[in-house]
Amino acid sequence: MQTLIAATLNGLFMGSLYGLIAVGLSLVFGVMKIINFAHGALVMVGMYAVFYMWSLIGLDPYLSLVVVVPVLFLFGYFLQGKVINPVLKREFGRNGHAVILLTVGLTLVLQNAALLFFGAYYKAAKTFVSGMTWDMGGVVTSVPRLIAGVVGAIVILGLQLMLSKTDLGKAIRATGQDREAAGLMGINDYKIYNIAFGLCLAILGIAAALMLPMYYVQPEAGKIFEMRSFVIAVLGGIGSLSGAFYGGLIVGLIESVTAQVWSATAAEMLIFVVFIGVLLYKPSGLLGK
């Protein structure tokens, strides 16, 4: 029983973290209608940023957010502005396959650059919370996972408030709903794209800082999270932030609990069975329109 509670908690925490990563993917799709295949590579970039802040300057991963988040926001802003937008503009009115290929290319560039400069080695940050546990009457919970789960949920909630209450948030949503109409209302759509991509990177920076105390970084470290993100974003309804959050929780719970009552291999299968089941029943995803 205690293990089952521990597994459920672990599933919720990891699920919230998966949700946070998937939110970035969902946001980019919701606004720009781009499927970003570089998402996993960008998670990896965030992790290296956090890791080197820790190993070179000695900044704790959680504290490094103060630096990493603005830097990654700017990186995303300019990546969109200088690399993705020009292709988007040329592709305007066509199917947009070139942008998808562009994100695939970006993945290869980032991964191989990481391989070249940082090597294929596994790097992990040892912080004061690494390996720390919280024992509640036999239910042992990992503290970094607890922090990741709680902070992940708060960030998603904050982002949603920002999108629904602030002017900028409304402009982002308007652009996502109808780009031309938003343009007619005086919204600079390409600038909104830049901001949305910057936001996605900032979110990934937060996720990276939450992961590093319990995980390692390596040029391919983002791959698994990318795979999870695609499933979660589509499961929850691509473009929907709360959908991504709930999707994350569902995947996290299946992963953690199935392994207890069955096996880890079965969990991997079951995630996709549920995924296919939801798509058959509701093709737009749980909360998709």
Binding site: T3, A6, A7, N10, G11, M14, Y18, Y121, Y122, K123, A124, K126, G131, T133, V140, S142, R145, M214, Y216, Q218, K223, I224, F225, R228, E255, S256, V257, T258, A259, Q260, S263, A264, T265, A267, E268
Partner: protein
């Protein structure tokens, strides 16, 4: 044009084989012992391509042994004949390996073959030497099938792949007998591709045979983002012994998670792969302490000659010997021993001598085995692996007991997590 050359070579080859059968093998370095000045040994190795560094390591082991044997007066029963290594590059490719083996045998007329590091190359190239009845000594390749085809000319020094799972259990059983802390409940934790699954097949046989009970069978995908679910499952099973087959990232996640959940087992035993990766020790740090890993060889092995040979090797090449180098080195001594007893450089006589090999001491015995002796299939029946334990970030040999590091005392059962500093 090309066709013509092919035809000419073919005719050439046919004539050569014809000669061979007519003169009854005397062209193979001479059948009579009197005229033999040197014995050619074909060494097939991946000397270029992705695995070239390991091929080079094997080559170094062979060269060092050959130099020693020649310096000590060569093969005395052959009037001091010297060993000559004839290297061929397999490029790590089975097809190239086969044609190079053919070339070594047919053109260079080697008396014995050795190699080829990769099982995938050894497997077909031993087939070539079987065809031409040339003895082939395999120092490293572990694939079970290599000595399971009823071949007469293939002799393998190394243990079989399936013996890894066997020796993990054997070690735990012997530790229990020695210390009184007998493990009963066993958890099997392995990555779910063919490596892990073949280990599990082995464990399912060896664990019950050792009188232990499998309380958990937990395969997992090695590319998991989170292994906490598997770790919680181990915790619930409450095993005395945890056996792993893991790659690097999963070994890191599992070890850290087991420390977090404070799962107290008497022993946790890996079998190379991730547990042997230097990155593993670097990333898990203290959590790896008291863990075990099954491996082929270690420079701290407590056997006579290991220290001296390793020092010689290091002086010559600047690095420590490893398992591949040590096995390749020992294989040359096995060949020299057979030549000595055969008193001839004729492949058939060498084969007969190899089949009767029984080496228990001498410079070649830097391997952890008690002795080298081949069974009907050509497998060294005494081949075994060694167990190392991590302590203070160092890997020290603890098993087999007669080959352990004399300066290190094994810790069994591992101290409880709460008692560790």
């Amino acid at each position: 044009m090309l066709k013509k050359i092919g035809a000419v070579t073919l005719i050439g080859l046919l004539t050569l084989t014809g000669c061979g059968s007519q003169t009854g093998g005397t062209n193979n370095q001479g059948g009579s012992s009197a005229g033999v000045k040197e014995v050619k040994i074909g060494a097939l190795l991946p000397l270029s391509g992705a695995v070239a560094p390991i091929g080079e390591t094997c080559k170094r082991g062979q060269e060092l042994a050959t130099e020693e044997i020649n310096a000590a007066g060569g093969i005395k029963s052959l009037g001091g004949a010297k060993l000559v290594l004839d290297f061929a590059d397999s490029k790590g490719d089975p097809k190239v390996g086969m044609s190079e083996a053919e070339r070594l045998i047919m053109k260079d007329k080697v008396a014995v073959m050795t190699g080829a590091y990769q099982s995938s190359v050894t497997y077909p190239s031993t087939q070539v030497s079987e065809k031409y009845k040339i003895p082939y000594v395999v120092p490293v390749s572990v694939m079970d099938d290599i000595t399971e085809r009823g071949f007469k000319y293939t002799f393998r020094l190394a243990p079989k792949a399936s013996w890894y799972s066997r020796d993990q259990v054997k070690f735990a059983k012997e530790m229990g007998e020695q210390t009184g802390s007998v493990p009963k409940r066993v958890a099997l934790v392995y990555e779910n591709s063919d490596w892990g699954q073949s280990s599990a097949k082995g464990w399912n046989k060896s664990v019950p045979e050792a009188g232990m009970e499998i309380v958990l069978d937990a395969p997992y995908p090695s590319s998991s983002s989170d292994l906490t679910p598997v770790i919680l499952k181990i915790k619930q099973a409450n095993p005395d012994l945890i056996l792993f087959t893991s790659y690097t990232s999963d070994a890191i996640l599992l070890t850290n998670g087991i420390a977090e959940q404070k799962i107290n087992a008497m022993g946790m035993i890996g079998q190379g792969g991730g547990h042997a990766d230097p990155e593993y020790l670097k990333n898990v740090g203290k959590n790896a302490e008291y863990g075990f890993d099954l491996t082929e060889w270690s420079p701290d092995l407590g056997k006579p000659g290991v220290k001296e040979t390793n020092a010689k090797f290091k002086q010559k090449y600047g690095v420590d010997m490893n398992g591949e180098a040590a096995e390749s080195y020992a294989a040359m001594y096995v060949i020299a021993d057979a030549l000595e007893r055969a008193g001839s450089a004729e492949p058939e006589k060498i084969r007969e001598a190899l089949a009767k090999t029984k080496i228990t001491s001498g410079p070649g015995m830097i391997l952890p085995y008690d002795s080298i002796e081949f069974d009907q299939s050509g497998q060294n029946i005494h081949a075994s692996l060694i167990m190392v334990q991590v302590n203070n970030g160092q890997r020290s040999t603890v098993w087999p007991f007669n080959a352990k590091n004399p300066d290190y005392k094994v810790v069994w059962p591992a101290p409880k997590w709460t008692d560790r500093k």
